[in-house]
Structures are given as C-alpha cells and as structure tokens.
Symmetry: C2
Subunit: 556 residues, 2 copies
C-alpha cells in the first residue's frame, strides 16, 4: 500500500531558515534568465537537490485534453526515453498529486499500485518518490516527480514549484510576444516590398513564399475569382507538396476556400478533413492530407483616388489558404498575419491590374486614332502600327532600357501623325506629286512634332516625329541633321519606316519583293540610314521578330 502524507507537513528537521534563504537566493539567480527551457531545467535541478533525490521529471498539464505531457527529466537519468509521452491527468502517482492539488509521498514505490509502467525513467532503480502539482493562481498547471529522495521539505518544494510555473508562464509569454513581434516586423518589411511589386506573377510567388515561412505551414495556396465570379482559379501553390499544373479551377461554391470567398469569413480549423465543407479533390490533386487549415478572404480595401476619381469600393477577389501547421495549430496571431498579408495582396493585385489597364487604354486609344488617320489613305493602312512593331523589335536587339523601348513604341506609332495637317487630296493623290505638293508632304514631321509637343510627358518622343525623315548623311529633311545629331529613336523609326514603305504598295508602284527591300536597307546603312540601327534590324529579322505576312510584313 502507498503512504501519502497529509499536506502541509513541513518537516522541521528537513530544512532550516538559512537553507530556505539560500534556496531563495538560488531561485532568484535562476529566474534571471528569459529563456524558458533553461529556467525549467535549472529549477528542476534545484528541487532535486533540495530533496537530495537522484532524478526528477516534469510534466505540463494540457487542460483541454486532460492529459499530462512529459516535459523534461533531470538528475542522474537524463535520457529522453519519455519524450512525447502523454498520460491521462489522473493516472499514476503524479496524476494523484494533480487531482489532490498537493504533494504525494510514496516511500516504497514497488508496493504502490498507482506506480505507472510508462512514466518511469530508465537506467536507475527507483525506490521512492514525491510527486506534487505546480499551482498557478491556485490551479494545477504542471507537475513534478522526484525519485529516490533523502529529504522531503514538502512546503519548500511546493513553493519552489509554484514559483517555477509562474516564472515559466512569464518567460513563455515574453518569448511568444517577442517571436510574434519579430514576425510582425518581418511582415511589415514585406508589406512595403509587396506594394512595390506591380508584376502580378512575381507578387504572387513572393506572397506564397513568405506566408509559408511566417505561418510555418506545410502548404499555402492563392485562389483568385475569375471574371464572372463563378470559379476560383488556383494561381500558384507553395510548399512541400505543391498542387501540380495545369491550373486548377474550383467551382466557387466548393470547398472551405469557396465558403471563405463567398462569406468573407476567416476559417481556422484543427481538423479540416472532418469539416463538411472540405473538398477532398484538392487533397487528391496535391497528394497531401489536409489536417489543420487557415483560410482568409483576399479582400481589397476601398481605394481612395481623390480629386475627380473618387473612391473605389472594396470587394473580395479571392482567398489565401494555409494548411497543416508544422507544430501545433494555427493561432489567432496566424490569423492576423495571414489576413494582413491577404489584404495587402488583394490591394496590390488590384493596383497592378489598374496600371496594366491604364497602360493598355493609353496605347490602344492612340493606336486606334493613328489607325484611323492611316486609313484615310488606303495605301498607308496599318503602316504606323507595323513601323511601331518593327522599331520595338530593333530596340530590343539594342538592349535599350524598358523606358526607352516604350518611347520607341509610342514615337514610332505617332511618327506620321503630322499627316493630319496635310490635305487628303495630296495624301491620296494616285499620280506622282508636284514640287509644291511634295513640299506640303515634307511639312508632316514638324506638324506632328507640334501636335505632340503640347503633351509634356511626351517631350522625349518629339524627335521621333520631327526627325524620322532625316538621313545620317545630312541629306534628309526638314533640318538636314547628320549622324548622332539625329535622335536614336528617329534613326530606328527611319529604318522601320523605309522598310515598310518599300514592302507596301504605293499609288505609283507595286510593293517591292522582300529580297530587294532588304538589299536596299543594307545598302542604305551609313548614307540614308544609321548603320547600327540597320544592324539591329537584320538581327531582329534573322531571329524571326520581323516577319512577312499576306500582302506585307508584320510582326507576330
């Protein structure tokens, strides 16, 4: 039979005042650490020492599961054979101490039927034990069991144990708070980087990478609503088991992510597979069994444009989902982290689309207007668009920076805009032009430049319009500029313009065949045309970037 002594049984022979004060002093030293594991180890060592015991173990109480989970073993036996062990909170001698909220002393372990076969350190003969709960605000939060004690200063070790758990709680709170602060700092830094990424694909890749790291999840996926809002498109997936290509589409009423996108709610589950909303198809595709899951909507906030453009109302554009937290479950901190990331992502995706659209609107509108002007003369229909495409192909060969390539695209597109100022009768004249008529035609570079000059943001492309009929040998018009005095953009446009004119039908001659046209371009290098630009033209041509199509040449 076991013998448990009543509590508190301060044994005056076990400790004296000086010893208690010394122990307090030791405990003070130990508690100066802010590292929780170190704290537990040193405090347990102190308790073992105070009892003159051989060894000791510590358990944390998992109140939700009513279990004691093994935390550490110290003393003569330090092996980790107990690691990961969990026992019911009322099992064994340590369970009894937790239930009774006071120390249980067993002088002869062998005869105690509560002595568990599981929770025993290996490698030493265990004769006796003291088990006691660690109480925080009167409630057991953990338990300690020492073996082969020689003294039993129960009151003292109870006080030490209670102090230990209080200190442990603060240390863990501090560690958690600091770890959370670090994650917030990382997220904060990330937010600015995200906002600076208007390239959608790169943005999504970045977000998933970071969400994966911040949440310590097995996988993170991003779903975007398609345009009519019927389907969710999995745009990318990160983690150890990414969902394979091709792109996966889900009906918007399927799965937990569908629920999140429709309802705007956050869903955080310990066991997603057991949830009726779970869509098993995803697990089949990825080969991963979903356990824990955190899904948040991608909700774009209201965007304030100001002035006359007002406010664009926020809406949900998709969802972000993390599955299988590596350790434990997704926490409220995780919810905040993923939600912040999701909101910023939604916003930047919206802004990125806005840029692309503004860009397209501008280029397409200019293209439409230019095409309409070209179309006044049936012989020049599509001319400006082709010249723009050829010029861009050449500019890429010259490795010009993106900003300049954009100027080339626009300058070439607008190069003949001055023809608005030339009477239709001259432009459409089927016969050869008179000298006066030709003089009228020759005005179009400067008329074009004048039209575009009024737009200050286009000032860098004005030379493309003004100088595209200049020749590097100085024999061009309107100014007779030479060589590098002619802007790079104008020299590029001149090559493209000449090539398109040669290969197009004219009122006074048919289209030239390709070989003859190429030959003329080649021979014009250094006289009419800039040699470097001609070189770029041929490189682009040989790479197939400038191609012949029905009736003329066109870029693919």
């Amino acid at each position: 039979m076991s013998r448990s002594e009543p509590y508190p049984p301060t044994d005056p022979t076990a400790v004296d005042v000086q010893q208690v004060l010394d122990v307090m002093s030791r405990a003070n030293e130990i508690s100066s650490t802010t590292e929780s594991q170190e704290l537990l180890e040193q405090m347990l060592d102190l308790i073992i020492e105070v009892c003159g015991a051989d060894t000791g173990t510590m358990y944390l109480l998992d109140a939700e599961r009513h279990e004691l989970s093994f935390q550490l073993v110290r003393g003569q036996v330090r092996e980790a054979s107990l690691t990961g062990m969990r026992i019911p909170e009322d099992e064994g001698i340590v369970g009894a101490a937790v239930q009774q909220r006071r120390p249980v002393v067993v002088e002869d372990l062998a005869s105690d039927p509560r002595w568990s076969k599981i929770a025993r350190p290996q490698g030493v003969v265990l004769r006796n034990t003291i088990a006691f709960p660690l109480l925080l605000r009167g409630r057991p939060e953990a338990a300690i069991q020492v073996f082969n004690f020689r003294k039993k200063p129960l009151h003292l070790i109870q006080m030490l144990g209670n102090r230990m758990i209080a200190e442990y709680e603060k240390t863990v709170l501090l560690q958690t708070s600091r770890a959370y602060g670090s994650k917030l700092e990382r997220l904060l830094k990330l937010m600015t980087q995200i906002s600076a990424t208007l390239d959608k694909d790169r943005l999504i890749e970045r977000i998933l990478d970071e969400a994966h790291r911040l949440l310590d999840a097995e996988g993170v996926s991003l779903f975007l609503l398609d345009d009519p809002g019927h389907e969710l498109i999995l745009h990318s997936s990160k983690g150890e088991h990414p969902i394979p290509e091709p792109v996966v589409r889900l009906p918007v009423d399927a799965g937990i992510i569908g629920y999140v996108v429709r309802s705007g709610e956050v869903v955080c589950l310990r066991d997603a597979a057991g949830d009726p909303r779970h869509y098993p198809e995803i697990d089949r595709l990825s080969g991963v069994t979903t356990r824990s899951l955190l899904a948040v909507p991608l909700r774009m906030p209201d965007v304030i444009f100001g002035q006359e453009r007002g406010i664009t109302e926020g809406r949900i554009i998709g969802g972000l989902e993390a599955i299988n937290k590596q350790a434990g479950e997704f926490s409220q901190d995780d919810v905040l982290l993923l939600s912040s990331l999701a909101q910023q992502t939604a916003l930047v995706i919206y802004l990125s689309n806005l840029y692309t659209e503004a860009d397209e609107l501008f280029v397409n509108t200019v293209r439409a207007l230019v095409a309409a002007i070209d179309a006044k003369d049936p012989y020049t229909e599509g001319h400006s668009q082709r010249v723009s495409e050829y010029s861009v192909a050449m500019a890429s060969e010259l490795d010009l920076p993106p900003r300049v390539v954009q100027q080339v695209r626009l300058g070439a597109l607008l190069h003949d805009i001055g023809k608005i100022g030339v009477p239709d009768t001259i432009l459409r004249k089927p016969d050869r032009l008179t000298a006066e008529e030709y003089a009228e035609i020759k005005k179009h570079p400067l008329i074009g430049a004048k039209i575009i000059e009024s737009v200050h943001q286009l000032e860098e492309i004005v030379p493309a319009l003004a100088q595209h009929h200049e020749r590097v040998d100085g024999k061009g018009y309107p100014l007779g500029l030479e060589g590098e005095n002619i802007s790079m953009i104008a020299r590029l446009v001149a090559v493209a313009d000449t090539f398109d004119a040669l290969t197009s039908e004219r009122p006074y001659r048919p289209a030239m065949n390709l070989e003859d046209a190429l030959d003329i371009i080649r021979k014009s290098a250094g006289s009419q045309l800039d040699a470097r630009c001609v070189d770029a033209f041929f490189r682009a041509y040989l790479k197939g970037k400038i191609k012949l199509k029905s009736g003329g040449l066109t870029n693919e």
Copy 2:
C-alpha cells in the same frame, strides 16, 4: 553616529522557517501579475509587513545618469510628495546601501548625518530605517528603504527585493514587448490603408496623424524634395504647435532633416538643439523648442513593374521628422516604426504620382490628337475641348459619379473623331453643302464609334460618339433614337455640342450672340435636346462654370 550592521546578519529570532515559507507563498501569489506597477506595490507592501515597518519607499537606479529616481512610497504615508525626485546614486542612507551593495540599518535616524532632507516621506515621525539595494545578476538596479521597522530579517528582505527586481524586469519586458506588438499591429493595419490612398493630400494628413500617435511626439513633419532637388518643402505638420502656413521651404543643405535627406541616414537625438546641424529657423517658425528628435529619410524602394516596363530604381524623395517625445526619448522601436511608415509613404506618393501622370498622359495625348483633327477645319478649332468642358460642368451638376464624369469628359472630347473619315474638301467647304455632301457628314458618328470600338476599355463611351446627333424627339441621326434610348452621355454632349456650334462662327454664318444661343437651347429642351440636360446646362451656366471668352465661350 549611524550604526550599520554587517551583512548577512540573519537574526534567528526575527523569522522562522514557517514564516519564510509563508512569505515565499505570498511572493508567488504577487508574482502572478503581469502588471509591473501592481507588482512593485504589492512586493513593497510585503517587505514593509515583514519588517513590521510603518512605511517604505522604492527607487530605480538610472545607471546612465548615476541617479536614483523615486518610484513609489507605500505604508502609512502614501502621498506623492516625492514624485519625480532624483538623487545622486551615492547620496543619503539609500545611496550608501547601493554603494555597499548590502543592507544598511540605522537605528536612530536623527543622529545619522547621511539622512537626507529631501528623500523623506512627510506626515509621520521617522525613527529608524533599513535601506537595501535590489540586485539583479549581482548588480544594483534599484533600492528600497523602510522606516520605523520593528524587525530586521535582512537576509529575507534582501531575497525578496532581489526577486522583486527580477520579476519587475520580466514584467516590464513583457509589457514593452506587448506594447510594441500593439504598435506594430496598428502600423500593419495602417500600411494597407495607406496603400489604398492614392490621394496625396489625404495620404500625407493620415500619415502625420498616425506618426504623431504611434511615436507619442509633440510634432511630426513631412518634407518633400522639390523637383530639381534643391529645396525641401514642408508639406504638412501635425502636433500641438504646427508650423504655420504659408508652406515653408528649406535649402536641402540646411538642418538635420536636410542631412537625413542627403545622406539617407536615420538621425535620433536626445538634444537636437545642441547639434551643430540644427536649423533654428524651424523652431522660430513653429514656436517650439526642439529637444529630442527622430528624422528618417523617405526612401522609395525599387518598384517592380514587370513585363517590358522593368524596375524603377528607388531613391530618396524627402524626410519624415518627429520632435519631442512626450515621455523619455525616441527608441530603436520608434526608429523602426517611423522608418516603416516613411518607406510606405515614399512608395505610395510615388505610385500616386504615377497614376496622376498616367491619367494626364492619356487625357493630354487624346486632347492633342483631337485638337489636331479639329484644326483641319479652322471653324472647329478648339471645338471638342470646349464641348468636353461644358459636358463635364453639366455632369457635375447632375451629381454623376466620378467614373461617369470621366466617361463624359472623354466621350465629349472624342465625339467628332469620326470626322477623320470625312474628306477635308467637305469639312472645309465654305458654301452650303449638297445633299450628297451632307450625307457624308452624317456618317461621322458611326465612323467615330467604329474607331473607338476597338478599345475595349472605352466601350462605355461609344454611345457618346454614335448618338450625339440623335434628338430626344426621334428626329436625329443616324438611327432616330428617342428619349432615354439615347445614352445619357450622348444627351449631355448634344447640348454642349449645339451650344458651341451656335456660339462659333461657321463658313456660312457668323457666331450667334449669347442670349440668342441660350434662347435656342432653352427652346430645344424636350424636342432636340434632353430637358434634364438642358436644365443642368443652365444651372452650370448660372454658377459661372460655363463662361464666355474672346471669340467664343470657354470654361475657366
């Protein structure tokens, strides 16, 4: 003379084991709080009780200034007469205890020359005292002094004091970490809101408001570099003493903020006024004496556009400055908070400018091309621009949403674009047109619609082009649509178009005078023109939004 006893002088008559253990238990209870002030108060109460003393005070050691700063007084005398008091770390009895790193007992205060006239609680006769340092990792961090003790369990109170300071440190660390976490959370939320604000003025106001709150500063100012980069413009200033209008300009080589903008460094000063870089002019303008200061550069990160648009390199566009932290000095946490805010601000200011520029580029380019087309016919020069301005004035009167107003602006600007497809000879004909010629002219609405149709983002303004010659009585062209079957934009444009045509000279008639033109518009309501739009026209006219200028009418 004073009598200080050697340490440790555990007085066995003062305490027994049971009392020590009970005190430990009480200390455990007290230490379960995570609130630092509460912890200090309760621990000091316990120490006073253990000594059977009347009252006690506590000081924190300011190691940098070598001072003891009064923290709290408990016991019979609780008044706050000592609040804010600081004494040299070696002054008085408490100073002696700190210097000697052990308790100092004075049995007869009156005869002790160290007894300070300052550091004495009022309202009670003080006979004796124990002063002792609170040691953390062997170093004094604080001190306690109790008065009118009846017992002197020096070892016990020393242990309690040491524990108190260790617990206090952890509690303060936890509080600081949590407060910092809350600030990061607020900043995180703010970042998304900032990114969603593309209205620069509103953005700046928001940033300054939040920086003010986050940093607990007396004032926060934002400086932006002007275009050539020679001056810093103070765009706004928040706080109790905002710098008065008009806008302040600083040479970029002046002041601490100038240094920050030029060097890209963060500057954090306890005493800015004593810094040689300080620019006293600012203090004079604001009427605030700058003490502590934190200034960070507004550094725009690299912006990744992707595709052909590449990466825009980051640069410094200004600086953000906070002055006079309300309590203490600016910390490293403040540096992180303000830097994050500054970086996001720089980025959003850049993006906001980018939007405005993209918008301006588009509208100005379309305007230039349309003006060129109008200019083919000297009688219609400036027509489309005027029609656009009148239409926008009317749209505002109808309180149409910003998106629709933008469509009105653009639709009106482009309404006659189809005239590109009408031969110049007809457009410029000085005589009355023949029936065939008039039939050609009547094609321009559909030609214009066809040109613009190819730009899918402009599909909503196509009706403005196609239907601006329809009449609400169904007698217009090309389709003879009636009333509300004609799009709102087209009905608005029709009023503006008619008014401009009437008030402009034509080849076949002079410009009509204003009263006659207004009369015709008024009488056309319900037959040619939409009554609601005519109403909006007159409201805009009466408010002066539509004004007569030399030779014609123009909006200001």
